[in-house]
């Protein structure tokens, strides 16, 4: 495995998106929307030889067909990388599980993430947002990605798990290694998973003699479908999932929403004047700037929207591209904060619907509300540069903004 780093393929700039797409190309990272529009006009499902072979559906219909088809498309690998690391048992259930293992693994995680459970967590998240804003509001400027949007989900999930919120920096480092660096450097994946597993193994051991009422203890007390306690490896897998899926994603969603509002004073002013629009605005931000692209592995030959799909290939399951499909959403390229009909697929479709969707919505809502209360007038800093994350999860990683009277 250690040799694999030196054998990593190059990623030459893409010149032919229809036959040679690459979701790590700088053009995709910077502005993927025109690329998806071009591909959608060409064919509902395109293919690249990169990443050892990978398909990309860009229509809502094609994405939906794949998401619902667990017979031909497996979730055992959910990130498209240059290599295909060996499939690990209990990798991160239920996101890496297929039927029939999927349902019992998911049902363990659902009760702590219902809307009612999120209502109980909301006051803590509101306090977290204000603690963060207190740290920079006097400066009249900040990098909103580094100082604000990143920390909200990290601290919220740490609070839920019952681990120190200050350990958040560790989580961010591991997630960056797993979701971004590992696409081109497998050793990053191995190292991050080892460190993360060792960290949580310590917390699990401690709770065996000192039980608590947090989410780690809840998972440790849970029984599988046969009434047996979970193995430590299953608890660890679920904890890995919650971190991997719960941080970059919501960080990105809050960041993209703030980026839009910094760029679009009319929407900002309207949201402040008509706060009852917040729920539809959040759904529209989720549609237009969906952060998460999942993946599947083709297990059996089939056709999707008339296109042949062959085993041995991965699928980049682009919910973000589906959500920009004009056949499904009128004015798909416009952000309409009072959009009435919005069946967006930002949290997936079918059995793998994001287990944390209620948490993500609450965090987004609270983070935007508290920001607008404290910082109603803000804009992108023309002297700074907005940068976007690469690959599986898309959102601003630098978001320099100006506010207040200094400018």
């Amino acid at each position: 495995m250690s040799d694999s780093v030196s054998m990593m393929p190059e990623h030459p700039p893409v010149t032919d998106w229809v036959n040679d797409f690459d979701h790590t190309d700088p053009r995709w990272t910077e502005n993927p929307f025109p690329i998806w529009d071009e591909l959608r006009n060409e064919c509902p499902v395109v293919h690249t030889k990169r990443f050892l072979g990978c398909y990309l559906p860009t229509t809502y219909q094609a994405v939906k067909e794949i998401a619902y088809d667990t017979e031909h498309f497996s979730s055992r690998r959910v990130i498209v990388r240059d290599v295909r690391p060996e499939v690990q048992r209990n990798a991160a259930p239920p996101i890496t599980s297929d039927p029939p293992e999927h349902k019992p693994a998911k049902q363990l995680l659902l009760p702590p993430f219902t809307p009612d459970a999120m209502t109980k967590l909301e006051p803590r998240v509101r306090a977290i947002c204000n603690e963060l804003i207190d740290e920079f509001i006097e400066d009249g400027q900040c990098d909103a990605a580094a100082r604000y949007t990143k920390h909200v989900p990290v601290r919220a999930i740490a609070h839920m798990l019952g681990i120190p919120e200050k350990d958040g920096d560790l989580f961010v480092k591991w997630i960056h290694m797993i979701l971004e660096l590992s696409i081109k450097n497998e050793s990053m994946l191995v190292q991050a998973v080892q460190e993360m597993s060792a960290y949580f193994a310590g917390h699990i051991e401690h709770r065996k003699t000192h039980p608590t009422d947090d989410l780690i203890s809840t998972l440790m007390k849970a029984k599988d479908k046969d009434g047996n306690p979970l193995e430590d490896s299953q608890v660890l897998g679920s904890l890995r999932l919650l971190l991997i899926a719960g941080i970059d994603t919501t960080w990105s969603a809050i960041g993209s929403s703030l980026w839009h509002l910094a760029n679009t004073p009319a929407d900002r002013d309207r949201l402040i004047a008509e706060p009852e629009l917040m729920p539809s605005a959040i759904e529209e931000f989720l549609r237009a700037y969906s952060p998460v692209t999942m993946a599947r592995e083709v297990m059996k030959e089939t056709t999707i929207s008339g296109c042949p799909v062959k085993p041995g290939n991965m699928v980049l399951l682009s919910f973000p591209a589906a959500n920009r499909d004009p056949a499904m959403f009128p004015d798909a390229d416009k952000v309409v904060i009072d959009r009435k009909e919005n069946r967006h697929a930002a949290f997936g479709l079918g059995i793998h619907r994001c287990v944390g969707s209620n948490l993500a919505r609450m965090e987004m809502t609270v983070a935007i509300e508290e920001w607008l209360k404290r910082i109603p007038d803000f804009r992108l800093d023309p002297a700074g540069k907005v940068t976007w994350s690469e690959g599986t999860v898309r959102g601003p990683r630098q978001l320099p903004v100006l506010f207040g009277k200094k400018n």
């Binding site: 049902q107 659902l110 009760p111 993430f113 219902t114 809307p115 009612d116 729920p279 759904e283 009435k340 009909e341 919005n342 069946r343 967006h344 697929a345 949290f347 479709l349 079918g350 059995i351 619907r353 969707s357 209620n358």
Partner: protein, 69 residues
């Protein structure tokens, strides 16, 4: 009475997105896993028809049926 609406959540299709509960809390309730069910027998009280249609047109799984009685 004509025009009265009745809703039903298809339990095989619902995946717990909870959009219906958010848009029409009077008409939908969630179980311990967050999956939705219609309140009572699914009859939509007068004045809540728009909310019933709104929930129906926002369900990502197309799991909500609205019938005019």
């Amino acid at each position: 009475m004509s025009g009265k609406l009745k809703i039903r959540v298809d339990q095989d299709k619902c995946q717990g997105h909870a959009r219906c509960k958010s848009l029409a809390p009077e008409l939908f309730e969630l179980d311990e896993f967050g999956n939705a069910h219609e309140v009572g027998d699914g009859s939509v009280p007068a004045g809540l028809e728009d909310k019933a249609w709104l929930a129906q047109t926002n369900c990502p799984e197309i799991a909500i049926e609205v019938q005019e009685e």
